[in-house]
């Protein structure tokens, strides 16, 4: 089956609660950096919920914008890597091979969404917190770039299960941790190449837009605008 994973983020539903962030941290063995490193702008979270202010009191508004890796179809990060550490996999995801990475950080510079995070140090999990580490994916050493993978390990597992049962992967069978946990259901994940998938139907919504569309990166994360007023 042709697969093109995509994510829809409905800003009308997103409350900015941050459940996705912690779910991602828990799923992907993402280290905690501490206050001093956070101050230097080195949070390791793969997914951020950007909070923008808009307007002045009393019309001030907070606008939440969850930003995972956009898994661009025309990914600027991939072409600039001198060692092919990041490339397009068969499902159209930007796969990151930590082993190959030498840490030029060019990919991070070339990512207009700035969603790539770099391992500035070897991050340690104080014992026994290391027991929480998921065996499905590696921890990353210092000097290596990392980023949201759409929880490729979950996709992989679902694919294996499907293959064992001799069928194709079902819509919604595998979703990233953030999508799984999102309390208001603002996140939706699925195969865009399958016209019957929920996401394919959802993305017919006229509210759809993509972040920095003018850059031509063709992100596979699609946002749905906030609505105004009652009714549609």
């Amino acid at each position: 089956m042709n697969i093109k994973w995509a994510m829809a983020i409905d800003l009308d539903r997103c409350t900015g609660c941050g459940a996705c962030v912690v779910a991602c941290v828990a799923e992907n063995n993402i280290p905690v950096v501490g206050e001093a490193e956070a101050e230097k702008g080195r949070l390791m979270q793969w997914l951020r919920v950007a909070r923008y202010w808009d307007g002045e009191y009393p019309e001030a508004q907070a606008v939440y914008l969850p930003v995972p890796c956009m898994q661009c179809e025309r990914a600027p990060c991939e072409t600039v890597c001198p060692v092919y550490a990041t490339y397009h996999n068969e499902d159209g995801l930007n796969a990151m091979v930590y082993n190959r990475c030498v840490g030029t950080r060019y990919c991070a510079n070339n990512c207009p969404y700035s969603v790539r995070v770099f391992n500035w140090f070897d991050h340690k999990w104080e014992k026994p917190l290391d027991e929480q580490l998921s065996p499905d994916l590696t921890t990353r050493s210092r000097g290596v770039m990392e980023k949201c993978t759409f929880c490729i390990q979950r996709i992989r597992r679902a694919k294996e299960t499907a293959a064992l049962e001799g069928r194709e992967i079902r819509d919604g069978e595998s979703v990233p941790a953030c999508v799984q946990t999102c309390p208001p259901g603002a996140l939706l994940f699925g195969n865009l190449a399958d016209p019957h998938s929920e996401i394919a139907r959802k993305l017919k919504d006229p509210r759809r837009f993509r972040l920095m569309e003018h850059l031509g990166t063709e992100p596979k994360v699609v946002y749905l605008k906030r609505q105004k007023g009652a009714g549609r």
Binding site: E73, R74, A75, P76, C77, C81, Y87, H88
Partner: protein
Amino acid sequence: MSGVVVVGLFDGIGKAAAAGNALRALPLDEDRITTLSSVPLPDGSVSRDTRPIRFPRVTLVGWFAGALAGLALALGTYLLYPLITGGKAIVSVPPTLIITYEVAMLGALVGTLIAGFREMGLCRFRTRLIHDPRIQEGKILLCARVSGDEQARRAMDAMKSAGGIDVRPEEGEL
């Protein structure tokens, strides 16, 4: 082409030129006469270079060899490791041009260097070469490769009469 070389030191270009003319009158072929000097002398002032300078062709050859290598590197990379990046085609032209260009220039530079060394006859550490360090004091060493004792004697006479100092036969390569 080893043989006897008659050498003589001259402390002025005029004297050396006169000696050169005398040698040519012996007669001695143009390509048997040369000078050693600390500064380049204009061609024909004392001796004349008869051998055509052809090594710039090697530069060209080096350039094309480099270009081929660069092209092979670029295309080979694309075709042997066909990883899709950025959702783009496997083979991309502009980077190929850049790599080809740079490696071509490298080939040309290296080709020129090697050919230049060969043409100038450098790096012959094992052969005995005619040399006189006194040229560094502004003297000109006029050298004439002679065949036979008779020619050698006449050449020495010609140099001495033109004002040559320390005129002597030497064994060695030019």
